[in-house]
């Protein structure tokens, strides 16, 4: 029995690696996605252009504005003369935020009163706007405490000390790239598995296999082993890219990561097999993978937190192995995730794996007969 499976595995590897179509799918999307995601996918806000309408003539207002000009986040500061310009620039998305200082500003400060500063933000980009607001608030805070000291007032006697654990500089790549380890492993594994059977059907060699003495289960093993190997290989590649190219710190146990990766790959092979059994051509298989994987990826907690989702959607993520694996990967990279927590996330993956594989095997058998 093993001889037969071995022959099939060898054949699978050769055809996968030599088939141009599969090669394209294996190489280009991961590389493109890795680089685009890593560099483009950032919720950070940098290089922001802001506008300023300063109707005050005092020193204080220009001092405050200088602080904004000096900040790294606000790369360009545009000066406006009228409300109309504010409206125009925000509407046309030329600036993300406008600081409007009225003519009572310095007067109020000098007479020890509160001086209001209007911050007008483009709500169309509410996420970025909020982050920009945060930066602006910090600048204003600093100004306030400096001003108080200058005017001889006792500065605030309390202070907030922020500590960003695991990622002190809040480098966004440290968040996305580990997620990519999970996602790209998923994509490669599912694509290889689903293409493998569809390709044979399309070329006509599937019948040849069915006519041979190979039992359905042997065929399944022969087809899935290469997918497992290649999926984990892909995961390893991205892992290395994460550590060596993107310099994401790796604090946890490599062994635990690989163990989880293995179970994860097993859990998604079932999906690939299932898709492969119902698709007659490689192109159909590719499309099905795309249509069904995209929602799974979007809702996996990869970019947006699961707890923000409505309850029903959160429930649906319970059967999504990607959700758990992302938690594990991020945890092992950045948080030295303790074994107990890893286990808590592994057992759903294992359950899903068992379920998927059993279902896929049953379905595959049915289809063959």
């Amino acid at each position: 029995m093993f001889g037969k499976i071995y022959a099939l595995i060898v054949k699978e590897f050769i055809t996968i690696l030599q088939d141009t179509k599969t090669r394209i799918v294996l190489i280009s999307p991961p590389i493109i996605q890795l680089f685009i995601f890593a560099f483009a996918a950032t919720l950070d806000v940098e290089n922001v252009t802001i506008g300023v309408l300063n109707q005050d003539y005092g020193l204080q207002s220009s001092e405050l504005i200088k602080r904004f000009e000096g900040s790294r986040t606000f790369s360009k500061v545009k000066f406006f003369n009228s409300h109309k310009q504010i409206q125009e620039n925000i509407d046309n998305q030329k600036v993300l935020m406008v600081i409007h200082i009225d003519d009572n500003f310095s007067k109020n400060l000098l007479s020890h009163k509160k001086a209001k500063v209007q911050l007008l933000l483009d709500g169309r980009k509410s996420n970025s706007a909020q982050i920009v607001l945060g930066y602006a608030s910090k600048i204003i805070d600093q100004y306030n405490s400096d001003l108080a000291k200058e005017l001889g007032f006792k500065p605030a006697d309390t202070i907030v000390i922020p500590r960003n654990w695991f990622n002190p500089n809040l480098i966004y790549k440290w968040f996305t790239v580990p997620g990519l380890v999970a996602i790209l492993t998923l994509v490669i594994t599912v694509v290889i598995t689903s293409l493998s059977i569809a390709r044979e059907r399309e070329l006509g060699t599937f019948e040849q296999l069915l006519v041979s003495p190979m039992k359905p289960i042997e065929i399944l093993i022969g087809k899935t082993v290469p997918a497992i190997v290649l999926g984990m290989f892909e995961g390893t590649l991205i892992l290395c890219a994460a550590i060596f190219i993107f310099r994401v710190p790796f604090t946890g146990s490599l062994l635990a990561l690989y163990f989880s990766m293995f179970l994860f790959v097993l859990s998604i092979i079932g999906i690939g097999l299932f898709l492969s059994s119902i698709c007659k051509t490689q192109q159909q298989a590719l499309l099905s993978v795309f249509v069904f994987m995209s929602p799974a990826v979007i809702m996996s907690g990869f970019a947006t937190p699961i707890e923000n989702m409505p309850y029903i959607f959160q429930l649906s993520t319970i059967v999504n192995p990607l959700r758990y694996f992302i938690v594990i990967v991020r945890g092992i990279f950045l948080k030295e995730l303790p074994f107990v927590e890893i286990l808590k996330n592994i057992y759903p993956i294992a359950l899903i794996a068992v379920f998927n594989l059993t279902l896929a095997t049953w379905f595959f058998r049915k289809r063959i007969e």
Binding site: T15, Q18, G204, E207, Q208, V211
Partner: protein, 572 residues
């Protein structure tokens, strides 16, 4: 003035690497029926497409009614109609919708539409199927519809690329009636075919071999030199296949092939200098002169010199003799939802026998075949191979089966060696390396061992596919349309191998819609519309329909007549 002038046309692909057409020149007149014949891959489709102004020749020119295909393609598309190999029908549209589409594309007026549609639907006998989706039509009906779409406006030139492939014989006759009828409208019809016998029906035939013209002219002119050189050796009392073997070794014989119970031979010279006895056919045997056919002419022109006996001869161990049936089909039935693909089919095949399932596409022979191989589960009935039930002991049964799928299902991205290794692996062949080396030896694959299967010449692909199928020395070999589209010499070689295996006691089951190939079988099962019409030897089947109207019936005649009789029986 000829309607079509083809002058020195050369067409290559892949930056000159693949030569599809090599300096082709010829002329077609108005109203002529021209056949372009040759095996797959010789350039027929390329020639069709270049004529239709869909491809640009690398050098040379084609002009149709004075219009050059490169410069005046728009004008050409107003005066020609083209039916490509894959029908060109929109499967998601109904018959009527397809007709409407092409009518509009060809610029038919709405007033003309009704009358044209009526006459075409009559002509093609599709009046009752107007609302059916084109994808749900049978193969024959699709071809007829395709032809109708090309005739919506009377073209000057009609180009048909393999119009009768896979079509049932009755539909094929109807298609030919339709095509002949076009001559009276002075339409020039150019059609391509891989069946050399169809080429004989034309006014002029072009034989293409390896991208060059082998012959162009009247069929009779090609055949006349062979007038007294083609014979049937009848009443063979010794082993027919032995005689065949001897004949293939004989230098006086250009070509030899099995035809029913007789052996057909093409002699180098006339019969006077030929001594029949040296072939050991038995004392009662005699030579009977027959009309030459195109295939004979092919060999005459080719004069190929490799006359080897299949080396499988020495390689295979003979199987133990047994009179028991090696393949047994009992009441095999397969139902898909509401459609019965195969209905109560029963037959058995002995060791050392070549058994054919003959019928058009969609007849149910592929379904029956698949049930015999274990690819489909029968709804009713059983299929046993080499005494193992495919249902209860599939793995054991399959070890005794060799299978060669249509169009050779090899792994195109793997080298010949890797393919051999794979197949020997999954069949658990003992002494794998030795077995592989022997196959390479037997089939002369040395030069191709490290070349991707996709790049092998067609003949070597066939050898490789056969090697992969028999490496585990199966007792029963299933061949699905094994020689469709190959050139005659490749086909001869293939049958040489098959015969060698049969001599050792293996059973061969083949499916084919190619009537001539059926002649090589010991017995044939005629299958049509899911039912088994009759099982008998080719000669008996032909004899059964011999009548005054058909004094020399072919297998095709036998098929048509026997199907008709079966239908009448049913309706009584």
């Amino acid at each position: 003035m000829p309607l079509v002038e083809i002058k020195n046309v050369t067409k290559t692909f892949g930056k000159g690497k693949i030569v599809a057409l090599n300096n082709i020149s010829c002329e077609f007149l108005s109203g002529e029926l021209i056949a372009i014949a040759g095996p797959d891959g010789t350039g027929k489709t390329t020639l069709m497409r270049t004529m239709a102004a869909l491809l640009k020749p690398d050098s040379g020119a084609i002009s149709i009614d004075g219009n050059d295909t490169i410069k005046d393609s728009q004008s050409i598309h107003k005066i020609i109609s083209y039916m490509p190999q894959k029908f060109g029908l929109y499967e998601d549209l109904t018959v009527l919708q397809n007709l409407n589409l092409y009518a509009d594309l060809q610029g038919l007026n709405s007033e003309d539409k009704k009358s044209v549609f009526d006459s075409l639907l009559d002509f093609t006998d599709l009046k009752n199927f107007q609302k059916r989706l084109a994808g749900k039509l049978s193969g024959g009906m699709k071809q007829k519809l395709g032809l109708a779409c090309t005739l919506l406006r009377k073209p000057k030139l009609l180009i048909l690329d393999e119009p009768t492939v896979g079509v049932d014989p009755i539909s094929r006759r109807e298609l030919w009636k339709m095509i002949y009828a076009l001559k009276k409208d002075n339409i020039t019809v150019v059609f391509s075919t891989a069946y050399l016998d169809e080429a004989e029906k034309a006014d002029k035939t072009m034989l293409i071999h390896e991208s060059s013209i082998l012959y162009f002219g009247k069929p009779s002119n090609l055949l006349s030199p062979l007038e007294n050189r083609v014979f049937l050796i009848k009443n063979i009392t010794t082993n027919r296949r032995e005689v065949l073997k001897n004949a293939s070794k004989d230098p006086d014989i250009i070509d030899t092939v099995v035809q029913g119970n007789a052996i057909r031979v093409v002699l180098q010279k006339n019969e006077n200098s030929f001594n029949l006895k040296k072939l050991c056919p038995g004392d009662d045997s005699k030579l009977e002169k027959v009309k030459p056919r195109f295939e004979d002419a092919f060999f005459d022109v080719m004069q190929s010199k490799d006359k080897k006996v299949s080396p499988l001869e020495e390689l295979l161990h003979p199987f133990e003799k047994s009179e028991a049936a090696l393949v047994e089909a009992k009441n095999l039935t397969k139902q898909f939802d509401h459609f019965t693909a195969a209905d109560d089919i029963t037959f058995s095949v002995k060791g050392g026998e070549v058994f054919g399932l003959l019928g058009p596409n969609g007849a149910g022979k592929s379904t029956t075949f698949k049930m015999l191989c274990g690819l489909l589960k029968p709804t009713k009935g059983t299929a046993d191979v080499a005494n193992y039930s495919l249902l209860n002991a599939p793995s054991l049964a399959r070890r005794k089966i060799g299978y060669m799928a249509q169009k050779f299902s090899l792994y195109e991205n793997m080298t010949a060696y890797q393919n051999l290794r794979f197949f020997s692996g999954i069949y658990s062949v003992k002494n794998q390396k030795e077995a592989i080396d022997k196959m390479i030896e037997v089939f002369s694959l040395h030069d191709y061992v490290n070349i991707n299967a996709a790049k092998l010449p067609l003949g070597f692909k066939q050898r490789l596919a056969l090697a992969c199928a028999i490496m585990h020395q199966p007792r029963v070999i299933f061949l699905d349309e094994p020689t469709s589209g190959v050139d005659p010499s490749t086909r001869r070689e293939f049958w040489g191998h098959i015969n060698a295996m049969v001599e050792k006691g293996a059973s061969i089951v083949i499916t084919t819609h190619f009537m001539d190939e059926a002649e090589y079988c010991d017995r044939i099962a005629l299958i049509n519309k899911g039912k088994l019409i009759r099982i008998d030897t080719p000669d008996n089947l032909k004899a059964a329909v011999k009548s005054d109207a058909i004094p020399f019936p072919s297998l095709e005649d036998a098929f048509i007549e026997l199907s008709k009789q079966e239908n009448e029986e049913k309706n009584k």
